[in-house]
Structure formats: structure tokens, C-alpha cells
């Protein structure tokens, strides 16, 4: 759970007060409204000019940023793949976070969870845009973080796959007591969580949609 007060970042964000306390929250809003920047502030990829962000009551500016990012993992907007096979690309997150490598069964399980019927031994070059996006999503899910910050995780997916992936994601998060904050442009995804929308506009927000 995040509590944000007086957050300012350049001329992009200006949030007086915001609490993010649902298992699943959607950040929506027009392009350039500061959605990605808000996500980046939550795991200290951007340092705010002013304001305080508390994560479970703890000021994140006073925590070790690398340790924080291992609990609050983020998935960026455009998929980034590393050299090697699908398996290498899945394991690299665990390696960066200095966690033990996952078993082959676990890799297959997490690939199935994002609807990717591929072998971990396959090379990544031939993957399509949508497949790359799902591979990157699988990589962060494998990391077993406490909070997932996902920046448009379904932008390159067709409607059917999008629904499948997002539903799996939400049940994974709820089943394991984790939190999910996702930025989305998709009305379908936002529509799946009508009470959990945070609308940003011009860097400002007042809180969840159902409270306004």
C-alpha cells in the first residue's frame, strides 16, 4: 500500500494526496498525463522534487533503492530482451535480484500463465511483438515480488489474449496476497476493475474513481 502526499516531479506530476491500497489498481488517463512517471516514482527510478511516498508506512526515499526494487518490481512499456534463450530471459530477473534460479517446471508454468506456448530452450529472435511483451511479463511474475508495477502490459496483445493475461494476472495477485498497479490505455482492461481506477490528468489526481 502506497500513501503519497505533496508529490511533485518537474512539471509532469503534481499530486496532493493519493492512497493506493487495493490489490489491483488501474492508472488511466490521456497520453502525457504522468502515468508512467508516477509508476517510476513508486520504485525510485524517478526521484520526486518534492513530497513523500510511503510504502507500508515506510518512506521509500530512505530505503535502499535496489532492495526496494526487488520488492516492487516494474515492467516497462516496451519489451526489453537480453541475449540468449527464452529460459535465459526468464531467469535473468531472478539473477539480477540475487534470488535462486527457477526450476524448468516453474518456467513452463509461468509461460503458460501468460499464454505463451514456447519452450524455454527456444531463442528469442523469432518472437513477435506480443510474444515479447508476454515473455517480459512472465519474467517479472517469476520474481515473486510483493508489488508489481506494470506499464501497459497488454498494449501489443489482441483483445482475447489481453483478457486471458489480465485475468490470470489478477488471480495470481489476489491468490498470493500481492499488489498490482497497472497503467493502461485499454478501456477493456480498465473496465475489468471499475472500482479501482486512478485517473490522472495533467499530472493531477484525486484518488480512486469510485470515491470521486
Amino acid at each position: 500500500m502506497f500513501t503519497i502526499t505533496g508529490l511533485k516531479y518537474r512539471s509532469i506530476l503534481d499530486i496532493q494526496s493519493l492512497t493506493i491500497d487495493r490489490p489491483v489498481s488501474c492508472i488511466t488517463g490521456p497520453s502525457g498525463s504522468g502515468k508512467t512517471t508516477l509508476l517510476r516514482c513508486l520504485n525510485r527510478l524517478c526521484e520526486p522534487d518534492e513530497g513523500v511516498i510511503l510504502y507500508n508506512g515506510m518512506d521509500i526515499a530512505r530505503t535502499d533503492p535496489v532492495m526496494l526494487r526487488r520488492q516492487i518490481v516494474m515492467l516497462g512499456q516496451s519489451p526489453v530482451l537480453y541475449d540468449g534463450t527464452i529460459g535465459d530471459n526468464l531467469q535473468i530477473g531472478l539473477r539480477f535480484a540475487q534470488k535462486p534460479a527457477a526450476s524448468r517446471d516453474r518456467l513452463l508454468e509461468v509461460l503458460a500463465g501468460v499464454g505463451l506456448q514456447k519452450s524455454p530452450d527456444e531463442e528469442c529472435q523469432t518472437l513477435s511483438g506480443g510474444e515479447r511483451q508476454r515473455l517480459c511479463l512472465a519474467r517479472v511474475l517469476l520474481m515473486d515480488a510483493k508489488v508489481y508495477l506494470l506499464d501497459e502490459p497488454s498494449s501489443a496483445l489482441d483483445k482475447e489474449t489481453e483478457r486471458f493475461v489480465i485475468e490470470n494476472l489478477a488471480s495470481f495477485v489476489r491468490g498470493r496476497g500481492k499488489e498490482l498497479i497497472l497503467v493502461t490505455h485499454s478501456p477493456e482492461v480498465a473496465g475489468m476493475y471499475p472500482g479501482a481506477q486512478i485517473r490522472l490528468s495533467g499530472g493531477r489526481t484525486e484518488g480512486y474513481g469510485d470515491e470521486q
Partner: protein, 267 residues
């Protein structure tokens, strides 16, 4: 070391002047092909002639009046110029901390190598003996300069082009060191590679300048190659120390204290 051989033939100035015929050849080629480079070749030839002549007189003076402070001034000028030149060869804008680090790395690399090579291997006495100290230092510093400018180019380019990948690694909980590891290793590799390649062909394709010079001045070839082997190892050492210091500390200047990438415009 020259005592046992006939000393080198002196080169009369008039004979030397004949060598300028090569410049004339080049001028004729430029003129006939319509390449507008006459001015540059004249400037380059003139500068080379003047710079070397001045250096010759300076070295004559320094050799005839050996003193620790004259040697030190010469070394400082060489180092200063090498640092300035290495910075100039980097095509991307360099941040102030990175510039400073370049200078410090070259200074450290040179001092470590000079201490070992000049004082323990060559055992020159006194330590400032200009006949050895100045030319050997010049070779070491010159090669370290090429190495660090290659390394710096690779590091800056890598940090700029691989930005999305580095940032993605940070998002996955990587430390800045882990996120930049590949780029740092690549930069180190590309800085060391020319020296290693040079060592591979040495003696087969090329007889290196220092060795050629010693042989021309009457040194036994076997003595000359011992010096050449020593200097090659010293060059390798100095380049390695200089570049490893620079890249392993230099990548840090691209990150904030909060382990995030600095905004591009502030790097």
C-alpha cells in the same frame, strides 16, 4: 649500450631536405586530382618539422642539464597534453566528473607503471635520468591515451544506446554495477584490444619504432628486443590500469545516488 657498435651516421640537413620530395609528390597528386588538401598537407609538414625541431633542442638541453625538476616538468606537460587529447577524442559530450576521472586514471596508471618499469625493471639511476625517463614515459603515456579514449568512447556510447536495457535491469532489481556490467566489460575490452593485436604481429609484420631506433643508433638487436619486450609489457600494464580504473569508476557517474539512471541531459 651503444659502446660496442659503430655510432649512428649523422644525417646532414641537406640530405634530410631531400626527403621533402615525398611531400612534393603528394602535392602533385592532390593538384592533378583536384583534391583540395594542399593547405593541410603544408601545415601538417610544417608543424611536424617545427615541433620535432623544438623538441630536439629541448631534449638536448634537458639531457645536458639533467635535473629532477626539468624531467618532472616534461612529464607533466606530456601527461597534461595526453589527458587533454584523450578527452578531445571522445565524440560524445563528457561530464565534468568523467573528465576528472580520465585525468586521474591516466595519472594513476602512469605512476604505477613508471614506478615498476623505470625503477625496478630498468633500474635507472638517478630516477629522473632524462635519457630513459622521458622517451619511455612518452611511449607508455601515448598508448594509455589511445586506450582510454577508445574505452571512454565505448562507455559513453554504450550508456547512451543501451539506456532502455540498463533501465530495465534496474526495474528488475539489478544493482547499477550489474546493470552496466556488460558495457563496462565491452569498454575495457575495446581499449585493450589494439595493444594485444599489436603484440600478436610484432616482430613479424612490424619492427616497432623504439627497437628500430635503437638498432639504427648501433644497439645490438638482442639488446633492442629486450627493451622492446619490456616496453610492450609496460604499455599493456599502463593501459590496463588506466582503463580499468576509468571504466569501473566511470560507469557510476551515469547513475544517481538513488541507483537510477541520470536524466540524459544532465549526464
Amino acid at each position: 649500450m651503444n659502446s660496442n657498435q659503430s655510432s649512428v651516421m649523422d644525417l646532414p640537413v641537406l640530405s634530410l631536405a631531400l626527403a621533402y620530395v615525398f611531400v612534393l609528390v603528394l602535392l602533385v597528386i592532390f593538384r592533378s586530382r583536384g583534391i583540395r588538401r594542399e593547405r593541410q598537407i603544408l601545415i601538417a609538414t610544417t608543424r611536424m618539422t617545427i615541433q620535432l625541431t623544438v623538441m630536439g633542442y629541448i631534449l638536448m638541453y634537458v639531457f645536458q642539464n639533467p635535473s629532477w625538476w626539468l624531467t618532472l616538468i616534461m612529464l607533466l606537460i606530456m601527461l597534461g597534453f595526453a589527458i587533454f587529447n584523450a578527452q578531445k577524442r571522445v565524440k560524445l559530450p563528457l561530464s565534468r566528473p568523467l573528465r576528472r576521472l580520465m585525468g586521474l586514471s591516466m595519472l594513476c596508471g602512469y605512476l604505477c607503471t613508471a614506478l615498476i618499469f623505470l625503477l625496478l625493471v630498468l633500474r635507472i639511476r638517478p630516477w629522473f635520468n632524462p635519457q630513459y625517463c622521458i622517451p619511455v614515459s612518452g611511449m607508455i603515456i601515448g598508448n594509455a591515451m589511445t586506450g582510454i579514449s577508445l574505452g571512454a568512447n565505448k562507455l559513453c556510447n554504450g550508456m547512451k544506446e543501451q539506456r532502455p536495457k540498463i533501465e530495465n535491469s534496474l526495474m528488475l532489481g539489478a544493482s547499477p554495477a550489474a546493470a552496466a556490467k556488460e558495457i563496462v566489460n565491452d569498454a575495457f575490452d575495446s581499449a585493450i584490444l589494439p595493444t594485444m593485436n599489436n603484440m600478436l604481429t610484432m616482430g613479424i609484420v612490424s619492427l616497432p619504432g623504439m627497437m628500430t631506433g635503437q638498432i639504427l643508433s648501433g644497439t645490438f638487436p638482442l639488446t633492442a628486443i629486450k627493451y622492446q619486450i619490456g616496453i610492450m609489457l609496460a604499455i599493456l600494464g599502463c593501459t590496463a590500469i588506466t582503463v580499468v580504473l576509468f571504466v569501473t569508476l566511470g560507469y557510476k557517474t551515469f547513475f544517481t545516488s538513488g541507483a537510477a539512471l541520470k536524466l540524459e541531459e544532465t549526464v
